[in-house]
């Protein structure tokens, strides 16, 4: 069985990750994936690159716990999360979540749940390069609200 969580500097291949997650499992009737990429604008400024920092050890534990929670809440077979760290530029892939289930509803929900959870509870930080210099990205209140809709009231921003 492949790892459920990878934190890495190198790029990932969504198709290969999905193949590994499905593993010829004939129960699977739905695969839902989300991929996050680097935009060239944020909060009114153009972004030329970003540096992603994380808390080694805690990041993996936090996301593993989120996947356990998703397996408890939803009728899914498996989930895979890959998150990149280090130097990234617009167009680069940052994060992917893939979930398998028998029917689409559960994978859609679990995929969104995992992203909402990760955005506000996994220890990553982005520092952007803009024409006005480098700046740390601010956490968004809307991301806390996205997690709250799953009944999880945890404050980040």
């Amino acid at each position: 069985m492949t790892a459920r969580v990878s934190i890495q500097t190198q790029d990932f291949n969504l198709a290969m990750e999905v193949d590994a997650l499905r593993q010829s499992d004939k129960r699977v009737g739905a695969v839902c994936t989300f991929t996050g990429t680097v935009r060239d604008r944020n909060d009114g400024l153009s972004v030329s690159s970003m540096e992603l920092e994380h808390y080694p050890g805690m990041t993996e534990k936090a996301i593993e716990a989120m996947i356990d929670e998703a397996l408890n809440r939803f009728d899914i077979f498996g989930a895979r999360v890959v998150h990149r760290v280090g130097f990234l530029q617009p167009l680069d892939q940052v994060v992917m979540v893939a979930v398998t289930s028998a029917h689409r509803g559960e994978s859609f929900k679990a995929c969104e749940f995992l992203m909402d959870y990760l955005k506000t509870q996994a220890p990553f930080w982005k520092k952007e390069q803009t024409p006005e210099g480098a700046r740390w990205v601010d956490a968004r209140v809307t991301d806390d609200a996205a997690l709250a809709k799953w009944g999880i009231e945890l404050k980040n921003s």
Partner: protein, 82 residues
Amino acid sequence: MLVTIKYFASVREAIGCASEQRETAATSLAGLRDELLAAGPAYACLSRERAVRMALGQMMSDEAALLTPGCEVAFFPPVTGG
């Protein structure tokens, strides 16, 4: 007791240090935060007027969390991954 303290992102930059070992008389994260705030201006970024998040044993924690000898504590700004 001796604890390991890690700092990340803007907190790491403000304090000028990614990790330190510290002998503390504090029993909770709140007490440790108070000690650091009193330790010098570099730690002003841990002020309670700022959004600072904390971890104990690599789990998100609040100030009431209790320290244990040799534990790993971390202070950092709100997270912005994804």
